[in-house]
Amino acid sequence: MRFTPKRVFLAAVVALAAAAPWLLPNYYLHILTTAGLFILLTSGLNLIHGYIGRLSLGHTAFYGLGGYTAALLSTKLGLGLLLTIPLAALTAAAAGLILGHITLRFRGAQFVLVTLAFAAILHLFANNLVDLTGGPMGLSGVASPLLHKDLETFQVFGSRASFYWLVLALDVATVYVVWRIVHSALGDAMIAIREDEHLAEAIGINEYRYSMLAFVFGAATAGVAGAVYAHYVSFVSPEIFSFSIMIMILVMSILGSVGTVVGPVIGSILVVVLLEALRLQDSLREPIFGIILVAVTLLFPQGLAVLAGRRLFPRQAAPADAGAAPPSAPEAAVGDAAQGGAARPGVPAREPGPAVPPAAGGAARGDVLLDVEHLTVRFGGLLAVDDVSFEVRRGQVVSLIGPNGAGKTTTLNLVTAFIARNAGRIVFDGRECPRQTSPHQVAELGMIRTFQTTRGLLSVPIAKAVATGLHRTLGLGWGRIARAALLGLPDEGQARRALEILRQVGLERDPGELTANLSYGEQRLLEVAIALAARPTLLVLDEPVAGMNMEETVRMMRLIRRLRESGITILLVEHDMKLVMGLSDHIVVLDHGRRIAQGTPAEIQSDPAVIEAYLGRGAANAAA
């Protein structure tokens, strides 16, 4: 651990915060404790809203669940904080798991509504299940001993200061874990999901897993906040689920800056302190919150933390992830030494040097890498792909061509599992791909694709976007994920590898430049770079030069040729015949969803069926 100015500053802030009970009267301590509880809520919400891009309005559901769990355990069983807090976290996490499973496949209105509905249902139950919850009167008499009310020696939590320290410790722990997550490959994966979930899946990021991780983490921290709150005020009522608390959390989170680690902290403290300072009537509070939501979203959606960051550190002005600089070199070196250079089980060994691997060991050029048999899919009554079979051999460039609407992109979507097929068999790299599989599982096998039309990781700097592509190569099992979230993973030269790949594809821009600022042609190159970072055995390119000018096309063509020379097998869909004929070893021609020809470029050029499909019957007769 090095003493950078930033770290010294942070340590000073935490030390000062810890000393507050000696410096401030109890009244202020209470305000800070309240702010601290909101930091727990907003930090978790921020991971959900700011990183996986889901606006959850049901966060109070987990807060309330935590509160009621702790209150029930305390009043009915006499348990103390040390037991109720973890149990409340578990309850909330379990609820998060269930709710996440239902909702995380949605975004926008559906996601918002179901999360909102979940909180509303719990509110209703808390009001009506009087025997259990005390109904509208709530549960009072929640005690605050440490372990159990009968163990006199363990009754510590009596003073305001003790609660303040507890909340402070939980805040520091939560913010630390959030910081670890968002500054690791996990955060990269979450941002990729937020920006473009198809691209994320295509490079092997398990959308469900990382979305769930963020959602359950948010639920658990909210549960903890609810439990601490219940013990702190020794009372909990259905109001804990109310929408007005949700609005307050949302205001804090949006005002502070969504998608930054420090934003929720700033927003929570600011709103709580301002509310106290202004001593607003409760009835005026909500209209003002309404105005803030509208004004911030319309006028400065980036929020205060980012605005202030730009003012204070004009050079670090990259949005969303101002602090996302790669770990400093000395620290990385220490990390590697500690690792002893030993190969970890489950992590593929990485050779230094060229970022693009040669064809996988043991397999020879010319073996069948991808075998597609009788592939069929029906959309309603339309047979979009009808009994198509073809092979891709190792080291080849195979092109799928055909007139518009021939089913080329649909075929790619079927092969890469973005659409489930109705019939047919796909064998990739010796392994059978089941009919119901997700794109990231196919990517995991080494088949990486790009898209014809894509949004891309627009708000991400280009070097970081390429580093996101490395995800698959990091061997992130649950063990490594936990390590990344709690301790951080040693740097494995991702930043350096990303720069190498950028150089390799010939994208000569400032690595800190945002993807959104690239030209169209550059964005397509970047997309190939991201795919390359995922170390494809088979690279699937969907119209890589569509819409490109002459110069860009030539550049892409050279790149594809170089990639093939380096041993990557390529499956290509393309309209540009010069490129297809110049690069392909083998061509498959589709028309109306059927394969009408296949062969070498020369064979295809003289095939009457192909000429007819492209130019009509007359042309075919003339050629014959």
Binding site: A109, L124, L284, E286
Partner: protein, 289 residues
């Protein structure tokens, strides 16, 4: 048996107003790409204005009903011009946050003005129950059912048989193409918002005449409207009508046979079930008008 028919009738009467509310929301989502969480506030404003126009200004009930809807539409026009037009190319989540902000603002300002106590709109219809074939209903219920049915049919005619309706449908299904053929999509968006707000206000004034009006009535109404819209399939107008009736009937049955405490919750359970098993909605294909 009679009890079942009775609940069915009650459900259809409430459900027809729900349908009105949900159709407006569907239009606004389909044409403006705004997930309008402020929709419920127009429902509330319709009811509250109608109450004040009758109670304080002693207007004739029917005139008050019309005027309340017109005023709500005027407010809709102002909001659309001043704030929502900024959201033209915004992300869906931004539209949600802005309209939630508007909703919180409108609801709480109304609360400051009228207080939390529910009021009842005086109507010229008596409370004497009418009994036909064992079914009991009141004159106001029949009036509400008739007006909502009329408005929904009228709206259908507008959409299918007028030039404006054609332009709206075109904008709904393919905005850029609509602009290319010369449709002023901004104007269509404005008209849509005003019409949608008017439908919500009418629903609020009508249901408010059967039940009560109060500042937070819009908050639960907008949730129901969204439940219906998702149930019927986002952007499906016939789905919204069918979903509205279905939700009304389901609520009627739950409050009739289970407990009125949980009648509000049935919609939430329905929507979760729909999203789990038929996420594109219960009725028809996606994006139908």
């Amino acid at each position: 048996m009679n009890e079942i028919l009775q609940q069915l009738l009650n459900g259809i009467i409430i459900g027809s107003s729900y349908a009105l509310l949900a159709v407006g929301l569907t239009l606004i989502f389909g044409i403006m790409r705004i997930v309008n969480f402020a929709h419920g506030e127009f429902y509330m404003i319709g009811g509250v204005l109608c109450f004040y126009l009758v109670q304080t200004l002693h207007l004739n009930y029917f005139a008050a009903l019309v005027l309340a809807v017109v005023l709500a539409m005027a407010l809709g026009a102002v909001l659309e011009r001043s704030i929502l037009r900024w959201l033209k190319d915004a992300s869906i989540d931004s539209t949600i946050i802005v309209t939630i902000g508007l909703s919180v603002f409108i609801q709480n300002v109304t609360l400051l003005g009228m207080g939390p106590v529910p009021r009842s709109i005086p109507t010229p219809f008596g409370n004497t129950p009418i009994v036909v074939g064992g079914l009991t209903f009141t004159a106001i219920q029949i009036f509400v059912l008739a007006v909502t049915a009329l408005v929904i049919v009228g709206f259908h005619v507008l959409l299918q048989h007028t030039f404006l309706g054609k332009a709206m449908r075109a904008t709904f299904s393919e905005k850029d193409a609509a602009r290319l053929v010369g449709i002023d999509t901004d104007r269509i968006a404005g008209i849509t918002f005003v019409l949608g707000s008017g439908m919500a206000a009418l629903a609020g004034a009508l249901l408010g005449s059967i039940y009560l009006v109060y500042p937070s009535m819009g908050a639960i109404a907008v949730l129901k409207a969204f439940i219906i819209v998702i149930m019927g399939g986002m952007g499906n107008i016939m789905g919204a009508i069918a979903g509205g009736l279905l939700l009304g009937v389901a609520e009627g049955f739950v409050s009739g046979f289970v407990s009125s405490d949980y009648s509000e919750a049935i919609g939430f359970f329905i929507v979760i079930a729909v999203l789990l098993f038929k996420p594109q909605g219960l009725f028809g294909r996606k994006g139908q008008v």
